[in-house]
């Protein structure tokens, strides 16, 4: 009946009555931030014509930029404990997510589960997660280069030649190996990925990342089969994590949000190695 809030003293996430993320509070800022899952329809073209290829393993090419919302109503369950707060979201039969904030962290974790992507309607689908905010980014965003420097990107623009973008979605997609971000004079928003994904900012304040895709036509660039992945019958299920950072774009007490993002990036991509040992034969004292 009202906004559901999870979080800690560093960051708070609000969820509206439809179950969607609706606001984020961090660094003394409370801003409208939403998150949703959508999917593009994969283009089906005539592969004999270079400019009319199908979307496939090599190229992302939505059909007339058609996009669909996964749902308009999310089922949620909320779990709050001393170490972590979680919201479990179910968007539809093949998309769900856990949003969590650990007690001492200043960022939020989104663990998504997508698939098997249904193809009963004969349409290939390319699923994205999209974060919308009111940050006035003026078409500027940044993507990383294999975890090293961040590269400035501008919507419908190339730095070294005059470009006319014929495909306004695919033509603005960039490789994201670890991070995509945007900001204005007041606030910034960044997302860390756990794997290489395609991503973009197609509207001011908006970041999107492609999490899974299932296509029914070969794009004729060499692989010779559609990206359908039916070896195990139903198509693949993908699970992964995004980390959302939100806060002031300026330094706070000498530590910038960018610096925290950088350190977290290292710790998320190179986490501890985990080794399990059976201890049925030992008490805690013996083990000690």
């Amino acid at each position: 009946s009202s906004v559901t809030v999870i979080g800690n003293s560093h960051i708070k996430l609000g969820f509206d009555t439809n179950g969607f993320l609706s606001e984020v509070t961090a660094d003394g800022l409370t801003r409208l931030v939403s998150q949703e899952f959508l999917f593009y329809e994969g283009a089906v073209g005539n592969n004999a014509e270079f400019l009319n290829r199908s979307s496939g393993a090599y190229i992302f090419r939505p059909n007339e930029n058609k996009i669909h919302f996964a749902t308009d109503q999310v089922e949620i369950e909320v779990y709050k404990g001393d170490l972590v707060h979680e919201v479990h979201q179910k968007f539809n039969d093949w998309i769900s997510q856990v949003v969590r904030v650990y007690n001492k962290d200043s960022y939020a974790e989104f663990e998504w589960l997508v698939g098997p992507i249904p193809i009963d309607d004969g349409i290939g689908k390319e699923v994205i997660t999209r974060f919308n905010s009111d940050i006035e980014s003026e078409g500027i965003f940044h993507t990383d280069s294999n975890g090293r420097e961040m590269i400035k990107r501008k919507l419908n623009h190339r730095d070294t030649w005059s470009v006319k973008i014929n495909e306004e979605v695919a033509g603005n997609y960039y490789p994201i190996t670890t991070k995509i971000d945007l900001e204005d004079d007041t606030a910034r928003m960044a997302i860390l990925t756990d794997r290489a994904q395609g991503g973009s900012s197609l509207k001011d304040g908006s970041l999107e990342l492609m999490v899974h895709r299932r296509l029914l036509k070969d794009d004729a660039f060499g692989v010779g089969e559609a990206l359908n992945e039916t070896e195990f019958g139903d198509g693949l299920i993908a699970r992964g994590k995004h980390h959302l950072f939100f806060g002031k774009s300026t330094d706070r007490e000498g530590v910038s949000l960018k610096a925290i993002e950088r350190l977290t990036q290292l710790e998320k991509l190179l986490p501890t190695w985990k080794f399990f040992s059976n201890m049925e034969a030992y008490t805690a004292d013996e083990w000690q």
Partner: protein
Amino acid sequence: APHLTFMRETLGIMQHHDAITGTEKEKVALDYAKRMSVAFRACGATTRNVLNQLTVKSRENVKDTSAKYVFEFKTCPLLNITSCPVSEVNDRFTLTLYNPLAHTVNEYVRIPVADPSYKIIDNKGVTLETQAVPIPQTLIDIKHRSSTAKYELVFLATNIPPLGYRTYYVEKLDSTEGRTKTRALPKST
């Protein structure tokens, strides 16, 4: 050396542009995954030997050099889908965390377990705060995922030294003691 070399050769193959970008045929992708799996298992034997050598000092302390104190350090390659036979089946097990970074780290750790009530103590004998969170039904319902875990046990591992390790002892609680403390109750909307 043969174990490490198999991993070296596999990582060489994994640098092909089709493996990097995922533009290989599906059966080639499966073969890549199989090679990686074999390479990890091969190196697992080496890692286990190294960890048992590192723990030699503590074994000398108990003046018992028998095989009793040689441990199996198992990796759970399906932890990414919240599945680990060792933690799901055993009432008592240890978790060793090796930090590959050059600075000390703290990390929230999640362990798949079948029951919500466990106790975790660190290497100094201190009992840590834990929280059991239910695994989402959407994950449990996946038909090809084989796991008895219903919860993830969460704790904060602190001060794991650079390029070093710390071990935690995890024990299932017999009674319902701690259940109300550790289990977060759902509030459905």
